[in-house]
Symmetry: C2
Subunit: 255 residues, 2 copies
């Protein structure tokens, strides 16, 4: 698969097309959220491979070692100790979602809490049924984030690990939120509704967003009607019991 895509990228260059133009409007996903829920934390795709499918996105790392945020092609790791670092292409991920971000709609919003802001975005997006990438940049009155500590096998389920999460509080901070708003019908595959990660403008702190209030932000939206998911062919993924709907459990973990 990789060599074929490399060939395609090469052809695109020859033809003067943007590299990987075929993946425009595509949300590319490694594994499924229900795999992460049951503790499938071993990395299955390299960051180098992931970056060929998007320059923007969110996820986590091998061993559930912190929150992933991909912005303008750079992959950041926000571990439980809070110290942000850039990630090498040789690192791996058990679960991530990326896309090539193209701003299609822009909103300027000010003085809203999380509920007010998501209502404003819901109204602009106008559908629950198409995935959207969300990029929100500017001044935040406050942001509360979390990150998860690196795990070692045998892995505990995500709901257990989330009890040991680090929580970070920011006040009057500039930064960027990166993530997706996904349809209800993708609920067992990814996180339905809004799922945002945050990084400060100086790239020193951030995490998985739990709550926030914006001072003044610019929100850019990108509709992604094409969806690609690559499921792991590992024995651990094949053997996992993913038959049960874990919607309620997921809601607790994500919020």
């Amino acid at each position: 698969m990789r060599s074929v895509l490399a060939g395609f990228a090469f052809f695109s260059l020859l033809a003067g097309l943007p590299v990987l133009a075929a993946e425009r409007d595509t949300l590319y996903q490694v594994s499924a959220i229900d795999g992460l829920m049951v503790g499938l934390y071993d990395g299955v795709t390299t960051i180098g491979e992931l970056r060929t499918h998007g320059d923007f996105g969110i996820g986590t790392f091998h061993g559930l070692d912190g929150e992933m945020l991909v912005l303008d092609g750079t992959v950041f790791q926000i571990p439980a100790d809070g110290k942000v670092r850039q990630v090498a292409d040789s690192a791996t991920t058990p679960f991530a979602s990326v896309s090539f971000f193209e701003s299609e709609q822009i909103l300027q919003l000010a003085g809203l809490d999380q509920a007010g802001l998501t209502r404003a975005l819901d109204q602009r997006i106008g559908t629950d049924n198409i995935p959207y990438a969300v990029r929100m940049e500017g001044q935040f009155k406050r942001v509360r984030t979390r990150s998860v500590p690196r795990q070692t096998p045998p892995y505990a389920p995500l709901a257990e690990v989330a009890k040991k999460q680090s929580v970070f509080e920011f006040e009057t901070v500039r930064g960027v939120m990166v993530g997706y708003r996904l349809p209800s019908l993708m609920g067992r595959i990814n996180v339905p509704g809004y799922h945002l990660h945050f990084i400060t403008d100086d790239h020193t702190a951030g995490g998985h967003v739990l709550d926030f209030e914006v001072a003044a932000v610019t929100v850019a939206l990108d509709a992604l009607p094409h969806f690609r998911m690559v499921l792991p062919t590992t024995e651990a993924f094949r053997a996992a019991d993913l038959r049960r709907d874990r919607a309620a459990e997921l809601k607790k973990v994500e919020q």
Copy 2:
């Protein structure tokens, strides 16, 4: 998207690769089953386009005009009147799943009812979490199928239309069953478990499989860990209320 893929196919030919090798091991899907459940029956993708993503598969047609079966690159329509016809590339589909079939595992099975046969396949596949294409060819003791009558707007939900389905009974018949076994976690996007369509060896009859008993068949399996879904950007799809999980309703319609 189409022109880019055409370019890719062209490049593949130049390089001596099979055309569309990038789509190997990929289940390609038009729209989501929950769209069909609520009556989104207008075609959104042409059969010509669909055929660039697979030579094998199942689905339906514009206006819910019968059952689709794709076998060795030929697209068959099995309408409610039971008279099978081949479909022009200009026809359209509101929902379909296709793949390039490559036989990875082969089983010879005889003297089994539907429950016994699916148990045998479940055991061989050994996981609920990876999509599999299933091709089952040979002698059937009996097959019961259905097809659905063409609808006109305003469209009734699928559960209503299914009440008016035609049912066909076959005894001692040779033919092919074509379809997929999909993970539970794809339940709102497609049909979880087995979803098979049938066509007789002489291509004169068939339908969506309700029940069967095999005399002696050859079953070929093809794992499809890559999944691509193209959601419609139509106003009808954007406006549809797909927030509710329709698993119980779907089970009634499919069986």
